[in-house]
């Protein structure tokens, strides 16, 4: 057995493929955070007063808060005064983003081409509308016109603040208040851009919507804010993808995503997260501290989170669903892969409030190298939530002897009619399965990928087609050399 183990070890040593830096002049605010910096960011974005005041309230709250340390991760202290809170490519028109792709700096377009996210509307990703965020600003939103024809608003957050302020004011912070937690408050104070989606009553969004986040500038944080509103009976499927250049210092990413589903609405939110994880010795990489929450506000509404997390040095992320409407449904499907010195503490919260609410949690954790992979989940059923149902399945797969997998399931059930089921397994990758593949001619590396993909099948099948393929590819990259 020892022999095969070392074979597999070789397989995991892989290089991060998106680690290039775009050489572009940037307008970067000097490091540090105070009320003036916040006023400056707000002014640069020509924001209305309500927005600036909201940011300041969040900042005043944030300075009273402590960085949380309950997650199963370790990192050296983050110096929040050493981070620059705003960086934008200089060529980018500042006011309300480029009017069309012609206004976008060719270097930026090239960056996205390299990442496999061509912004030209007729290119490969036909049928997928893309909002590309480069450091702090949104570079381009494709298909905006076509979506507008059916009443859908898909634009950068800054554009929405200026052009649809009443919607922003009505919904922003209604799921994740500015006081929610340390990182959410920080984000609320300094968020720079992100995506905004509004799907009106009865409209089924005709294409996948997608945002692509790219962190380019050094020593900046990325604090994007995403807000998705699906009115009564609306449907939207949204995908978020992320990469960053390789840098030997850690970079902070603290995003907030809010989803609101009104009566009968359905939101599918999928993430393929591939931030730079740091090198094989644990140097550098992104700290990914994210607050994602969906609110099933209306009866019969449905929110599903699907995530494939292969990147970041540290991931701290618990996409949650508040099941407020009667008969509403919350789902969470997750694959989290950690290798080398990566640490992931991820999971979900399902809060059952309405009657006959249902939630499903499927979590697949894959650990390799010396990484630590934790699942942390909360299923909460309040007293008034009659007939709540939850099914949780948590599986951990270990590819080495030095990695760790941890499961922290929490349950708070206040209504006796609730049925909450939890199943958990932890296993080492099966030598017999690997041998079986290899005995048929499949290389050791492909055998690992095949077995791991099989293990993740229940999650991959929830991803939109195009991205399922991409996710499988990412998995292969992040596991190169992973078994031992």
């Amino acid at each position: 057995m020892a022999k095969r183990a070392s074979d597999v070890e070789k397989l995991v040593r892989s290089e991060y493929r998106h680690g290039f830096v775009t050489d572009i002049e940037a307008d970067t605010v000097p490091p540090g955070l105070n009320e003036d910096v916040i006023r400056l960011i707000s002014a640069k974005k020509a924001e209305p007063e309500f927005m600036r005041e909201w940011r300041l309230k969040a900042y005043r709250r944030w300075i009273t808060m402590q960085e949380p340390h309950w997650a199963h991760v370790q990192h050296s202290p983050i110096d929040y005064q050493a981070i620059s809170y705003y960086s934008a490519p200089k060529t980018q028109p500042q006011e309300d983003g480029p009017k069309s792709l012609k206004d976008v700096d060719p270097k930026l377009l090239e960056t996205y081409e390299k990442l496999g996210v061509p912004l030209h509307e007729r290119a490969k990703l036909a049928g997928v509308a893309v909002d590309a965020v480069f450091d702090s600003v949104s570079v381009a939103t494709t298909f905006r016109k076509k979506l507008a024809d059916v009443g859908i608003i898909f634009c950068s957050f800054s554009y929405a603040v200026q052009n649809h302020p009443q919607l922003v004011e009505q919904y922003l912070g209604s799921v994740v208040p500015y006081s929610d937690n340390f990182f959410a408050s920080l984000n609320s104070a300094v968020f720079s851009d992100g995506s905004f989606v509004f799907v009106p009553k009865g409209v089924r969004c005709p294409m996948e919507l997608s945002t692509y986040f790219r962190m380019n500038a050094a020593n900046t944080g990325q604090f994007e804010r995403t807000l998705i509103i699906a009115e009564e009976g609306a449907y939207v499927s949204y995908l978020e993808g992320c990469t960053a250049p390789m840098r030997d210092k850690n970079q902070l990413h603290a995003a907030v995503v809010e989803l609101i589903a009104l009566e009968g609405a359905h939101i599918k939110y999928s993430t393929v997260q591939n931030w730079y994880p740091g090198d094989a010795n644990g140097q550098g990489g992104i700290y990914n501290f994210v607050t994602k929450r969906g609110d099933c506000r209306g009866a019969n509404s449905h929110i599903a989170w699907t995530q494939v997390e292969t990147g970041s040095a540290i991931t701290w992320k618990y996409p949650s669903v508040l099941l407020r409407g009667d008969n509403s449904i919350g789902e969470f499907y997750s694959v989290a892969v950690t290798n080398n010195f990566q640490q992931a503490d991820t999971g979900t919260k399902m809060v059952h409030i309405g009657k006959n609410t249902r939630s499903t949690i499927v979590s697949k954790g894959i650990s390799a190298g010396r990484s630590q992979n934790s699942y942390r989940g909360l299923v909460k059923v309040v007293g008034a939530a009659e007939n709540a149902r939850n099914y949780t399945q948590c599986d951990a797969l270990l590819l080495s002897n030095q990695c760790g997998a941890h499961t922290f399931p929490y349950m708070e059930v206040k209504n006796p009619t609730a049925k909450v089921e939890h199943e958990a397994t932890t296993s080492k990758i099966d030598d017999d399965q690997l041998f079986y593949c290899r005995s048929r001619g499949i290389s050791a590396e492909d055998a690992v990928n095949m077995v791991v993909s099989g293990f993740c099948k229940d999650v991959f099948k929830e991803l939109p087609m195009e991205f399922a393929v991409e996710a499988q590819g990412l998995l292969a990259v992040s596991l190169e050399g992973a078994v031992g």
């Binding site: 095969r4 074979d7 499949i442 077995v451 993909s453 099948k457």
Partner: protein
């Protein structure tokens, strides 16, 4: 094609194979019989390159190459195939996807073009008719939830698709109903050719009624205790192993 010389091997520090000598020429079919625990699967697994065995002495040459020095996948690409006594389930991995990956891996090794999904499906469906497997099995996970007999048929299907030069079948005939046994025999006979060799590990004469072997060997206590032609199998069926093994374990 295959030449095993004085092969000794340990499992968990216990000597299981105690000097195996066996020569198999192209075009031949050899049956290996013997009591439970005598080391038949150990031998087959070592030939396929499975971990967990330590070869302490001896050598195996396959088509002039040192077989024991090769990775399992290299052996497979060089034409060695093992139908496992206990085929492995791989949850979440589609059966036809698995088979296509194997097929293309072997083609790649030979410098041949990759075959696309459509073409491959056509090829597999033809082979499936031969072993009488419903096409529904293609889209199930590899061996997951297959009955014992279905798993064995699936091994034969893989063998027919991959067309090995040296096929090692470890009790592929065990646990089969009479129809399935005929199907497995049909699969084996379909592959029988002057360039190919097969080693059938079996407990029963009944398979050998359909697949006539050139040689029959009795493996007992880690050694080949007796070799003969097909009549040896019939004799074993009649008399059991005692008369052969009495001398071997001494």
């Amino acid at each position: 094609m295959l030449s095993i010389k004085n092969l000794h091997a340990n499992v968990a520090d216990k000597e299981i194979l105690k000097g195996i000598n066996l020569d198999v020429k192209a075009g031949e079919i050899h049956a290996v019989m013997g009591p439970n625990g005598s080391g038949k699967s150990t031998l087959a697994n070592i030939l396929a390159g499975r971990d967990g065995y330590t070869v302490t002495q001896g050598s195996v040459s396959y088509q002039g190459q040192d077989l024991l020095a090769m990775d399992p996948e290299t052996r497979a690409c060089a034409g060695v195939f093992l139908a496992l006594q206990y085929p492995v389930e791989i949850p979440g991995v589609n059966n036809v996807y698995f088979l296509k990956a194997a097929y293309n891996a072997i083609r790649k090794h030979r410098g041949e073009e990759q075959v696309d999904a459509v073409k491959f499906l056509g090829l597999v469906k033809d082979k499936m008719k031969l072993v009488d497997i419903d096409t529904a099995f293609l889209n199930r996970a590899v061996n997951e939830g297959f009955s014992g007999g279905e798993k064995k048929r699936n091994e034969i299907l893989q063998m027919l698709v991959l067309e090995p030069r040296l096929a090692l079948l470890d009790e592929t005939d065990s646990g089969l109903d009479i129809d399935a046994l005929k199907v497995v025999a049909k699969g084996i006979n379909a592959l029988r050719s002057p360039e190919r060799a097969m080693v059938l590990v079996t407990h029963y004469q009944r398979l050998l009624d359909y697949v006539v072997p050139d040689c029959v060997h009795v493996l007992a206590a880690g050694r080949i205790a007796k070799s003969g032609d097909k009549s040896l199998a019939a004799e074993l069926e009649q008399r059991g192993y005692d008369w052969v093994t009495a001398g071997a374990s001494a």
